[in-house]
Protein backbone atom coordinates (compact mmCIF):
# COMPACT_ATOMS: atom_id res chain seq x y z
CA UNK A 1 0.00 0.00 0.00
CA UNK A 2 1.33 3.37 -0.96
CA UNK A 3 -0.34 4.91 2.07
CA UNK A 4 1.77 2.78 4.35
CA UNK A 5 4.89 3.62 2.42
CA UNK A 6 4.36 7.33 2.75
CA UNK A 7 3.52 6.71 6.40
CA UNK A 8 6.89 5.09 6.95
CA UNK A 9 8.55 8.29 5.71
CA UNK A 10 7.33 10.02 8.86
CA UNK A 11 10.16 11.38 10.95
CA UNK A 12 9.13 10.73 14.58
CA UNK A 13 11.69 13.23 15.89
CA UNK A 14 9.58 16.00 14.36
CA UNK A 15 6.69 15.02 16.59
CA UNK A 16 8.76 14.95 19.77
CA UNK A 17 10.51 18.27 19.32
CA UNK A 18 7.63 20.51 18.34
CA UNK A 19 7.82 22.83 21.33
CA UNK A 20 11.60 23.06 21.09
CA UNK A 21 11.33 23.86 17.41
CA UNK A 22 9.10 26.83 18.25
CA UNK A 23 12.26 28.43 19.69
CA UNK A 24 13.87 28.05 16.29
CA UNK A 25 10.71 29.38 14.66
CA UNK A 26 10.83 32.49 16.86
CA UNK A 27 14.51 33.00 16.19
CA UNK A 28 13.71 33.36 12.49
CA UNK A 29 13.13 36.90 13.72
CA UNK A 30 16.81 37.31 14.62
CA UNK A 31 16.27 41.03 14.48
CA UNK A 32 13.59 40.93 17.18
CA UNK A 33 15.27 38.45 19.47
CA UNK A 34 18.95 39.16 19.00
CA UNK A 35 20.11 42.22 17.10
CA UNK A 36 17.80 44.90 18.38
CA UNK A 37 18.14 43.92 22.07
CA UNK A 38 21.90 43.74 21.61
CA UNK A 39 21.85 47.13 19.92
CA UNK A 40 19.73 48.66 22.68
CA UNK A 41 22.04 47.25 25.35
CA UNK A 42 25.20 48.29 23.48
CA UNK A 43 23.80 51.72 22.66
CA UNK A 44 22.73 52.38 26.24
CA UNK A 45 26.17 51.31 27.44
CA UNK A 46 28.01 53.58 24.97
CA UNK A 47 25.82 56.58 25.84
CA UNK A 48 26.31 55.99 29.56
CA UNK A 49 30.08 55.68 29.12
CA UNK A 50 30.23 58.93 27.15
CA UNK A 51 28.30 60.78 29.85
CA UNK A 52 30.55 59.33 32.60
CA UNK A 53 33.60 60.35 30.61
CA UNK A 54 32.32 63.92 30.21
CA UNK A 55 31.54 64.09 33.92
CA UNK A 56 34.92 62.61 34.85
CA UNK A 57 36.72 65.20 32.72
CA UNK A 58 34.60 67.91 34.29
CA UNK A 59 36.03 66.84 37.62
CA UNK A 60 33.12 64.81 38.97
CA UNK A 61 35.04 62.00 40.67
CA UNK A 62 32.29 60.61 42.91
CA UNK A 63 30.36 57.37 42.26
CA UNK A 64 28.31 57.71 39.08
CA UNK A 65 25.35 55.44 38.40
CA UNK A 66 22.62 55.61 35.76
CA UNK A 67 19.49 53.83 34.67
CA UNK A 68 20.77 53.00 31.21
CA UNK A 69 20.95 49.28 31.85
CA UNK A 70 17.16 49.09 32.15
CA UNK A 71 16.68 50.19 28.53
CA UNK A 72 16.86 46.65 27.11
CA UNK A 73 14.29 45.52 29.67
CA UNK A 74 11.73 47.89 28.19
CA UNK A 75 12.57 46.56 24.77
CA UNK A 76 11.42 43.14 25.94
CA UNK A 77 7.89 44.54 25.98
CA UNK A 78 8.32 44.94 22.23
CA UNK A 79 9.86 41.49 21.91
CA UNK A 80 6.79 40.06 23.65
CA UNK A 81 4.42 41.96 21.38
CA UNK A 82 6.25 40.89 18.23
CA UNK A 83 6.61 37.26 19.29
CA UNK A 84 2.84 37.17 19.53
CA UNK A 85 1.68 39.26 16.57
CA UNK A 86 4.26 38.18 14.01
CA UNK A 87 4.59 34.52 14.71
CA UNK A 88 1.29 33.29 16.14
CA UNK A 89 -0.60 33.20 12.81
CA UNK A 90 2.28 31.37 11.15
CA UNK A 91 2.52 28.91 14.06
CA UNK A 92 -1.09 27.99 13.32
CA UNK A 93 -0.23 27.29 9.68
CA UNK A 94 2.54 25.04 11.00
CA UNK A 95 -0.20 22.99 12.73
CA UNK A 96 1.07 23.84 16.21
CA UNK A 97 -1.17 23.85 19.23
CA UNK A 98 -1.47 27.13 21.09
CA UNK A 99 0.20 25.51 24.08
CA UNK A 100 3.22 24.42 22.05
CA UNK A 101 3.49 27.89 20.58
CA UNK A 102 3.19 29.58 23.96
CA UNK A 103 5.68 27.43 25.85
CA UNK A 104 8.12 27.58 22.93
CA UNK A 105 7.83 31.37 22.76
CA UNK A 106 8.52 31.69 26.48
CA UNK A 107 11.56 29.46 25.99
CA UNK A 108 12.75 31.67 23.11
CA UNK A 109 12.39 34.74 25.31
CA UNK A 110 14.29 32.91 28.05
CA UNK A 111 17.17 32.16 25.68
CA UNK A 112 17.34 35.80 24.64
CA UNK A 113 16.90 37.00 28.23
CA UNK A 114 19.62 34.69 29.52
CA UNK A 115 22.01 36.08 26.93
CA UNK A 116 21.20 39.63 28.03
CA UNK A 117 21.58 38.73 31.70
CA UNK A 118 24.94 37.11 31.01
CA UNK A 119 26.23 40.26 29.31
CA UNK A 120 24.83 42.31 32.17
CA UNK A 121 26.62 40.23 34.81
CA UNK A 122 29.89 40.23 32.85
CA UNK A 123 29.74 44.01 32.54
CA UNK A 124 29.08 44.24 36.25
CA UNK A 125 32.05 42.02 37.07
CA UNK A 126 34.30 44.16 34.87
CA UNK A 127 33.01 47.30 36.56
CA UNK A 128 33.66 45.80 40.00
CA UNK A 129 37.19 44.78 39.05
CA UNK A 130 38.08 48.10 37.39
CA UNK A 131 36.27 50.32 39.90
CA UNK A 132 33.85 51.59 37.28
CA UNK A 133 36.18 51.60 34.28
CA UNK A 134 38.63 53.64 36.30
CA UNK A 135 36.21 56.56 36.40
CA UNK A 136 33.90 55.42 39.19
CA UNK A 137 31.01 55.04 36.74
CA UNK A 138 28.68 52.07 36.95
CA UNK A 139 26.31 50.79 34.27
CA UNK A 140 25.55 47.26 35.46
CA UNK A 141 27.16 47.04 38.89
CA UNK A 142 24.45 48.71 40.92
CA UNK A 143 24.88 48.23 44.66
CA UNK A 144 21.34 47.25 45.62
CA UNK A 145 21.15 44.78 42.71
CA UNK A 146 24.42 43.10 43.48
CA UNK A 147 24.06 42.80 47.26
CA UNK A 148 23.33 39.08 46.80
CA UNK A 149 26.26 38.48 44.47
CA UNK A 150 26.58 38.15 40.69
CA UNK A 151 24.21 35.18 40.46
CA UNK A 152 21.44 37.03 42.26
CA UNK A 153 22.02 40.12 40.10
CA UNK A 154 21.81 37.98 36.97
CA UNK A 155 18.65 36.31 38.22
CA UNK A 156 17.02 39.68 38.92
CA UNK A 157 17.89 40.93 35.47
CA UNK A 158 16.63 37.72 33.85
CA UNK A 159 13.34 37.71 35.76
CA UNK A 160 12.74 41.32 34.78
CA UNK A 161 13.28 40.54 31.08
CA UNK A 162 10.78 37.70 31.34
CA UNK A 163 8.31 39.93 33.21
CA UNK A 164 8.47 42.56 30.47
CA UNK A 165 8.21 39.89 27.77
CA UNK A 166 5.12 38.31 29.31
CA UNK A 167 3.42 41.68 29.80
CA UNK A 168 4.11 42.53 26.13
CA UNK A 169 2.92 39.12 24.93
CA UNK A 170 -0.27 39.26 26.99
CA UNK A 171 -1.08 42.81 25.87
CA UNK A 172 -0.62 41.79 22.24
CA UNK A 173 -2.87 38.76 22.76
CA UNK A 174 -5.61 40.88 24.30
CA UNK A 175 -5.27 43.42 21.50
CA UNK A 176 -5.42 40.77 18.77
CA UNK A 177 -8.30 38.92 20.34
CA UNK A 178 -10.48 41.74 21.64
CA UNK A 179 -9.24 44.94 19.97
CA UNK A 180 -7.97 48.34 21.06
CA UNK A 181 -10.92 49.32 23.23
CA UNK A 182 -10.64 46.28 25.47
CA UNK A 183 -6.85 46.54 25.76
CA UNK A 184 -7.12 50.21 26.72
CA UNK A 185 -9.84 49.41 29.23
CA UNK A 186 -7.69 46.68 30.79
CA UNK A 187 -4.70 49.03 31.03
CA UNK A 188 -6.84 51.75 32.61
CA UNK A 189 -8.23 49.13 34.99
CA UNK A 190 -4.72 48.13 36.05
CA UNK A 191 -3.86 51.83 36.45
CA UNK A 192 -6.92 52.31 38.66
CA UNK A 193 -6.02 49.29 40.77
CA UNK A 194 -2.50 50.66 41.29
CA UNK A 195 -3.87 54.09 42.22
CA UNK A 196 -6.18 52.30 44.62
CA UNK A 197 -3.23 50.60 46.29
CA UNK A 198 -1.38 53.94 46.55
CA UNK A 199 -4.47 55.52 48.07
CA UNK A 200 -4.84 52.71 50.57
CA UNK A 201 -1.21 52.87 51.64
CA UNK A 202 -1.43 56.66 51.94
CA UNK A 203 -4.62 56.61 54.05
CA UNK A 204 -3.15 54.00 56.32
CA UNK A 205 -0.02 56.16 56.52
CA UNK A 206 1.85 52.95 55.79
CA UNK A 207 4.54 54.29 53.45
CA UNK A 208 7.35 53.93 56.02
CA UNK A 209 6.30 50.31 56.60
CA UNK A 210 6.23 49.66 52.84
CA UNK A 211 9.66 51.23 52.44
CA UNK A 212 10.98 49.13 55.30
CA UNK A 213 9.51 45.97 53.73
CA UNK A 214 11.25 46.74 50.43
CA UNK A 215 14.56 47.27 52.20
CA UNK A 216 14.16 44.15 54.31
CA UNK A 217 13.14 42.00 51.36
CA UNK A 218 16.14 43.12 49.34
CA UNK A 219 16.62 42.76 45.62
CA UNK A 220 16.79 38.98 45.74
CA UNK A 221 13.60 38.78 47.80
CA UNK A 222 11.86 41.18 45.44
CA UNK A 223 13.05 39.05 42.56
CA UNK A 224 11.37 36.03 44.10
CA UNK A 225 8.17 38.06 44.35
CA UNK A 226 8.63 39.05 40.71
CA UNK A 227 8.88 35.37 39.80
CA UNK A 228 5.50 34.82 41.45
CA UNK A 229 4.04 37.73 39.47
CA UNK A 230 5.58 36.29 36.28
CA UNK A 231 3.92 32.94 36.89
CA UNK A 232 0.54 34.61 37.44
CA UNK A 233 0.85 36.78 34.34
CA UNK A 234 2.10 33.86 32.26
CA UNK A 235 -0.92 31.80 33.30
CA UNK A 236 -3.28 34.67 32.45
CA UNK A 237 -1.58 35.18 29.12
CA UNK A 238 -1.95 31.49 28.28
CA UNK A 239 -5.63 31.49 29.20
CA UNK A 240 -6.18 34.42 26.84
CA UNK A 241 -4.29 32.70 24.02
CA UNK A 242 -5.92 29.33 24.57
CA UNK A 243 -9.12 30.12 22.70
CA UNK A 244 -7.63 32.67 20.32
CA UNK A 245 -8.59 32.24 16.67
CA UNK A 246 -5.72 32.46 14.17
Amino acid sequence: MTTLESGSATRPAVLRNRTRNVVRLQFVNTQTFLWVPALVLGGAWVLTMLIYWILQNAGVTGVKTGGGSQAPLWYFLVVGIQAMTMTFPFSQAMSLTRREFYVGSLAAAAVSGLGMSLVFVLLGLVERATEGYGMNGYFAYLDWLWEGGPLAAGLTYFVLTMLFFIVGFWSATIYKRYGTAVLTTVLIGIGLALVGVVALVTWQQAWPAVGQWVLDTGSLGLTLWAIAVCVLLAAGSYLTLRRMPA
Binding site: V14, V28, P89, F90
Partner: protein, 306 residues
Protein backbone atom coordinates in the same frame (compact mmCIF):
# COMPACT_ATOMS: atom_id res chain seq x y z
CA UNK B 1 -16.55 4.42 3.54
CA UNK B 2 -13.50 5.51 5.51
CA UNK B 3 -13.97 9.01 6.92
CA UNK B 4 -11.07 11.08 8.18
CA UNK B 5 -13.23 14.06 9.13
CA UNK B 6 -16.72 13.98 10.63
CA UNK B 7 -18.65 17.19 11.15
CA UNK B 8 -21.98 17.26 13.00
CA UNK B 9 -24.29 20.20 13.72
CA UNK B 10 -21.42 22.63 13.32
CA UNK B 11 -22.43 26.24 13.88
CA UNK B 12 -20.20 29.30 13.91
CA UNK B 13 -21.65 32.65 14.82
CA UNK B 14 -19.71 35.87 14.57
CA UNK B 15 -21.20 38.96 16.18
CA UNK B 16 -23.97 39.50 13.64
CA UNK B 17 -23.23 36.84 11.02
CA UNK B 18 -24.08 33.17 11.01
CA UNK B 19 -21.04 31.83 9.12
CA UNK B 20 -21.93 28.15 9.50
CA UNK B 21 -25.47 27.07 10.13
CA UNK B 22 -25.84 23.57 11.61
CA UNK B 23 -23.51 21.97 9.08
CA UNK B 24 -22.83 18.25 8.84
CA UNK B 25 -20.64 16.32 6.42
CA UNK B 26 -17.92 13.69 6.21
CA UNK B 27 -14.60 13.87 4.38
CA UNK B 28 -13.39 10.54 3.01
CA UNK B 29 -9.88 9.25 3.22
CA UNK B 30 -7.54 9.67 0.23
CA UNK B 31 -9.93 11.74 -1.85
CA UNK B 32 -9.59 15.13 -3.53
CA UNK B 33 -12.48 17.40 -2.60
CA UNK B 34 -13.54 20.57 -4.28
CA UNK B 35 -14.86 22.84 -1.54
CA UNK B 36 -16.87 25.33 -3.52
CA UNK B 37 -18.99 28.33 -2.76
CA UNK B 38 -19.20 32.07 -3.06
CA UNK B 39 -17.16 34.58 -1.10
CA UNK B 40 -18.43 34.65 2.45
CA UNK B 41 -20.22 31.30 2.07
CA UNK B 42 -18.26 29.89 5.03
CA UNK B 43 -15.43 27.96 3.33
CA UNK B 44 -12.51 29.51 5.20
CA UNK B 45 -14.42 29.44 8.49
CA UNK B 46 -15.12 25.74 8.07
CA UNK B 47 -11.52 24.90 7.18
CA UNK B 48 -10.25 26.99 10.10
CA UNK B 49 -12.44 25.08 12.53
CA UNK B 50 -11.46 21.69 11.08
CA UNK B 51 -7.80 22.57 11.67
CA UNK B 52 -8.51 24.06 15.12
CA UNK B 53 -7.29 27.45 13.98
CA UNK B 54 -10.73 28.69 14.96
CA UNK B 55 -13.32 27.43 17.41
CA UNK B 56 -16.94 26.45 16.75
CA UNK B 57 -19.84 28.17 18.49
CA UNK B 58 -21.48 24.76 18.80
CA UNK B 59 -21.42 21.34 17.22
CA UNK B 60 -18.85 18.62 16.85
CA UNK B 61 -15.76 18.09 14.74
CA UNK B 62 -13.85 14.80 14.68
CA UNK B 63 -10.60 14.44 12.76
CA UNK B 64 -9.07 10.96 12.73
CA UNK B 65 -11.71 10.22 15.36
CA UNK B 66 -10.52 12.91 17.77
CA UNK B 67 -11.24 16.53 18.63
CA UNK B 68 -8.51 18.51 16.81
CA UNK B 69 -8.47 21.41 19.29
CA UNK B 70 -5.05 21.67 21.01
CA UNK B 71 -4.40 18.13 19.84
CA UNK B 72 -0.83 17.88 18.53
CA UNK B 73 -1.31 14.25 17.51
CA UNK B 74 -4.11 15.19 15.12
CA UNK B 75 -2.84 18.61 14.04
CA UNK B 76 0.56 17.30 12.97
CA UNK B 77 -1.24 15.19 10.35
CA UNK B 78 -2.95 18.22 8.81
CA UNK B 79 -1.79 21.25 6.87
CA UNK B 80 -3.74 24.43 6.27
CA UNK B 81 -2.04 27.50 4.83
CA UNK B 82 -4.57 30.30 4.48
CA UNK B 83 -5.06 32.41 1.43
CA UNK B 84 -4.26 35.46 3.60
CA UNK B 85 -1.54 33.68 5.59
CA UNK B 86 0.67 35.95 7.71
CA UNK B 87 4.35 35.16 8.07
CA UNK B 88 6.90 36.42 10.62
CA UNK B 89 8.02 39.90 9.62
CA UNK B 90 11.67 39.17 8.89
CA UNK B 91 10.98 35.78 7.33
CA UNK B 92 12.15 34.96 3.82
CA UNK B 93 10.66 32.19 1.70
CA UNK B 94 13.62 30.07 2.76
CA UNK B 95 12.72 30.61 6.45
CA UNK B 96 9.10 29.68 5.84
CA UNK B 97 10.01 26.44 4.07
CA UNK B 98 12.68 25.58 6.65
CA UNK B 99 10.08 26.09 9.40
CA UNK B 100 7.59 23.84 7.62
CA UNK B 101 10.28 21.18 7.47
CA UNK B 102 10.59 21.41 11.26
CA UNK B 103 6.92 20.75 11.90
CA UNK B 104 5.53 18.48 9.18
CA UNK B 105 6.61 14.89 9.79
CA UNK B 106 6.24 13.83 6.14
CA UNK B 107 7.91 16.91 4.66
CA UNK B 108 9.68 16.11 1.39
CA UNK B 109 12.58 18.51 0.86
CA UNK B 110 13.26 17.28 -2.66
CA UNK B 111 9.72 18.01 -3.72
CA UNK B 112 9.94 21.45 -2.08
CA UNK B 113 13.18 22.25 -3.91
CA UNK B 114 11.64 21.13 -7.19
CA UNK B 115 8.59 23.32 -6.68
CA UNK B 116 10.69 26.34 -5.73
CA UNK B 117 12.41 26.02 -9.07
CA UNK B 118 9.20 25.49 -11.02
CA UNK B 119 7.43 28.45 -9.41
CA UNK B 120 10.64 30.49 -9.67
CA UNK B 121 10.26 31.54 -6.06
CA UNK B 122 13.01 33.89 -4.84
CA UNK B 123 14.21 32.26 -1.62
CA UNK B 124 16.19 35.12 -0.18
CA UNK B 125 13.56 37.80 -0.46
CA UNK B 126 11.51 38.60 2.65
CA UNK B 127 7.96 37.40 2.30
CA UNK B 128 6.43 40.84 2.76
CA UNK B 129 8.24 41.93 -0.43
CA UNK B 130 6.92 39.05 -2.56
CA UNK B 131 4.30 39.58 -5.24
CA UNK B 132 0.82 38.17 -4.66
CA UNK B 133 1.60 35.23 -6.94
CA UNK B 134 4.89 34.45 -5.20
CA UNK B 135 3.11 34.67 -1.85
CA UNK B 136 0.60 32.10 -3.08
CA UNK B 137 3.47 29.93 -4.30
CA UNK B 138 4.92 29.81 -0.76
CA UNK B 139 1.60 28.48 0.53
CA UNK B 140 1.23 26.01 -2.33
CA UNK B 141 4.75 24.63 -1.81
CA UNK B 142 4.19 24.20 1.93
CA UNK B 143 0.85 22.51 1.24
CA UNK B 144 2.27 20.08 -1.32
CA UNK B 145 5.66 19.29 0.25
CA UNK B 146 4.24 18.82 3.77
CA UNK B 147 2.40 15.82 2.33
CA UNK B 148 0.04 15.97 5.30
CA UNK B 149 -2.60 13.27 5.45
CA UNK B 150 -5.24 16.00 5.19
CA UNK B 151 -4.21 19.09 3.27
CA UNK B 152 -6.38 22.16 2.85
CA UNK B 153 -5.80 24.61 0.02
CA UNK B 154 -7.70 27.86 0.46
CA UNK B 155 -7.91 29.49 -2.97
CA UNK B 156 -4.25 28.73 -3.50
CA UNK B 157 -4.02 30.27 -6.95
CA UNK B 158 -4.53 33.98 -6.15
CA UNK B 159 -2.08 35.96 -8.26
CA UNK B 160 -0.74 32.84 -9.96
CA UNK B 161 -0.71 33.01 -13.73
CA UNK B 162 -2.25 30.26 -15.87
CA UNK B 163 1.09 28.44 -16.24
CA UNK B 164 1.75 28.44 -12.51
CA UNK B 165 -1.79 27.25 -11.82
CA UNK B 166 -1.30 24.38 -14.24
CA UNK B 167 1.97 23.48 -12.48
CA UNK B 168 0.05 23.37 -9.21
CA UNK B 169 -2.69 21.14 -10.62
CA UNK B 170 -0.19 18.80 -12.32
CA UNK B 171 2.07 18.49 -9.30
CA UNK B 172 -0.89 17.94 -7.00
CA UNK B 173 -2.17 15.08 -9.17
CA UNK B 174 1.24 13.46 -9.67
CA UNK B 175 2.11 13.59 -6.01
CA UNK B 176 -1.37 12.47 -5.01
CA UNK B 177 -1.02 9.40 -7.24
CA UNK B 178 2.22 8.42 -5.50
CA UNK B 179 1.17 9.45 -2.01
CA UNK B 180 -2.59 9.23 -1.69
CA UNK B 181 -4.00 11.62 0.87
CA UNK B 182 -7.03 13.74 1.52
CA UNK B 183 -7.03 17.10 -0.19
CA UNK B 184 -9.64 19.78 0.34
CA UNK B 185 -9.33 22.43 -2.32
CA UNK B 186 -11.41 25.56 -2.02
CA UNK B 187 -11.70 27.35 -5.31
CA UNK B 188 -13.68 29.81 -7.39
CA UNK B 189 -12.21 28.53 -10.63
CA UNK B 190 -14.64 25.64 -10.68
CA UNK B 191 -14.15 24.55 -14.27
CA UNK B 192 -10.39 24.72 -13.88
CA UNK B 193 -10.38 22.29 -10.96
CA UNK B 194 -13.32 20.17 -12.09
CA UNK B 195 -11.08 17.56 -13.72
CA UNK B 196 -9.01 17.37 -10.55
CA UNK B 197 -11.62 16.85 -7.90
CA UNK B 198 -13.31 13.56 -7.12
CA UNK B 199 -16.01 14.94 -4.90
CA UNK B 200 -17.77 18.28 -4.70
CA UNK B 201 -18.80 19.91 -1.47
CA UNK B 202 -20.76 23.08 -2.11
CA UNK B 203 -21.45 25.51 0.69
CA UNK B 204 -23.82 28.42 0.40
CA UNK B 205 -24.95 30.84 3.08
CA UNK B 206 -23.33 28.70 5.77
CA UNK B 207 -25.08 25.48 4.68
CA UNK B 208 -23.90 22.51 2.65
CA UNK B 209 -26.07 22.35 -0.45
CA UNK B 210 -24.21 19.63 -2.35
CA UNK B 211 -22.07 16.68 -1.31
CA UNK B 212 -21.65 14.41 -4.33
CA UNK B 213 -19.05 12.71 -6.43
CA UNK B 214 -18.06 14.99 -9.29
CA UNK B 215 -19.57 12.52 -11.72
CA UNK B 216 -22.93 12.43 -9.94
CA UNK B 217 -22.90 16.20 -9.65
CA UNK B 218 -22.44 16.54 -13.38
CA UNK B 219 -25.26 14.06 -13.99
CA UNK B 220 -27.63 16.31 -12.05
CA UNK B 221 -27.97 18.36 -15.20
CA UNK B 222 -27.89 17.83 -18.93
CA UNK B 223 -26.75 20.10 -21.71
CA UNK B 224 -28.13 19.98 -25.25
CA UNK B 225 -27.05 21.91 -28.32
CA UNK B 226 -28.98 22.31 -31.53
CA UNK B 227 -31.56 24.28 -33.48
CA UNK B 228 -33.15 26.73 -31.05
CA UNK B 229 -36.76 25.97 -31.89
CA UNK B 230 -36.23 22.20 -31.80
CA UNK B 231 -34.43 22.43 -28.48
CA UNK B 232 -37.17 24.56 -26.95
CA UNK B 233 -39.81 22.10 -28.08
CA UNK B 234 -37.87 19.08 -26.83
CA UNK B 235 -37.21 20.56 -23.41
CA UNK B 236 -40.69 21.83 -22.77
CA UNK B 237 -41.48 21.65 -19.09
CA UNK B 238 -37.90 21.01 -18.00
CA UNK B 239 -36.19 23.17 -15.38
CA UNK B 240 -33.71 25.12 -17.48
CA UNK B 241 -30.76 26.47 -15.53
CA UNK B 242 -28.78 28.02 -18.34
CA UNK B 243 -29.45 29.13 -21.90
CA UNK B 244 -27.10 30.52 -24.51
CA UNK B 245 -27.82 31.10 -28.14
CA UNK B 246 -25.91 32.13 -31.19
CA UNK B 247 -28.11 32.77 -34.20
CA UNK B 248 -30.49 29.86 -34.47
CA UNK B 249 -28.33 27.51 -32.42
CA UNK B 250 -29.08 27.21 -28.72
CA UNK B 251 -27.19 25.55 -25.93
CA UNK B 252 -29.44 24.79 -23.00
CA UNK B 253 -28.65 23.23 -19.64
CA UNK B 254 -31.47 21.79 -17.59
CA UNK B 255 -31.79 19.89 -14.32
CA UNK B 256 -32.44 16.18 -14.67
CA UNK B 257 -31.38 13.35 -16.97
CA UNK B 258 -32.63 11.89 -20.18
CA UNK B 259 -33.52 8.25 -20.54
CA UNK B 260 -32.38 6.23 -23.56
CA UNK B 261 -35.57 6.83 -25.56
CA UNK B 262 -35.35 10.58 -25.04
CA UNK B 263 -31.71 10.57 -26.07
CA UNK B 264 -32.53 8.76 -29.28
CA UNK B 265 -35.37 11.13 -30.04
CA UNK B 266 -33.09 14.14 -29.57
CA UNK B 267 -30.33 12.58 -31.64
CA UNK B 268 -32.66 11.93 -34.54
CA UNK B 269 -33.89 15.54 -34.32
CA UNK B 270 -30.27 16.66 -34.83
CA UNK B 271 -29.67 17.78 -31.25
CA UNK B 272 -26.32 17.03 -29.59
CA UNK B 273 -25.71 16.22 -25.97
CA UNK B 274 -22.73 18.05 -24.49
CA UNK B 275 -21.01 17.75 -21.12
CA UNK B 276 -22.30 20.08 -18.44
CA UNK B 277 -19.99 22.67 -17.03
CA UNK B 278 -19.70 22.08 -13.31
CA UNK B 279 -19.28 25.80 -12.89
CA UNK B 280 -22.58 26.57 -14.63
CA UNK B 281 -24.34 23.99 -12.52
CA UNK B 282 -22.99 25.32 -9.25
CA UNK B 283 -23.48 28.96 -10.20
CA UNK B 284 -27.12 28.29 -11.02
CA UNK B 285 -27.71 26.19 -7.91
CA UNK B 286 -26.23 28.80 -5.59
CA UNK B 287 -28.18 31.55 -7.34
CA UNK B 288 -31.43 29.71 -6.85
CA UNK B 289 -30.77 29.56 -3.15
CA UNK B 290 -29.86 33.21 -2.74
CA UNK B 291 -32.79 35.10 -4.26
CA UNK B 292 -31.90 38.32 -2.46
CA UNK B 293 -28.74 38.83 -4.46
CA UNK B 294 -30.05 39.49 -7.95
CA UNK B 295 -27.43 42.05 -8.81
CA UNK B 296 -24.70 39.50 -8.21
CA UNK B 297 -26.65 36.78 -9.93
CA UNK B 298 -26.88 38.77 -13.14
CA UNK B 299 -23.12 39.27 -13.18
CA UNK B 300 -22.37 35.65 -12.38
CA UNK B 301 -24.62 34.50 -15.21
CA UNK B 302 -21.91 35.56 -17.62
CA UNK B 303 -20.13 32.43 -16.48
CA UNK B 304 -17.35 34.22 -14.73
CA UNK B 305 -16.97 33.98 -11.00
CA UNK B 306 -13.53 35.44 -10.99
Amino acid sequence: MDSVIEVRNLTKRYKDVLALDDVGFDIRKDTIYGFLGRNGAGKTTAMSILTAQNLPSSGQVRVFGEDPYENARVLSRMCFVRESQKYPDDATSRHALASARLFFPRWDQELADDLVEEFQLPLKRTIKKLSRGQLSAVGVIIGLASRAEITFFDEPYLGLDAVARQIFYDRLLTDYAEHPRTVVLSSHLIDEVSNLIERVLVIDGGRIIMDESTEDARALATNVVGDAATVERALHGREVIHRESLGRVASVTFLGRLDAAERDALASAGIDLAPVSLQQLIVRLTQQRTPGRDAFAAAAQEGSLR
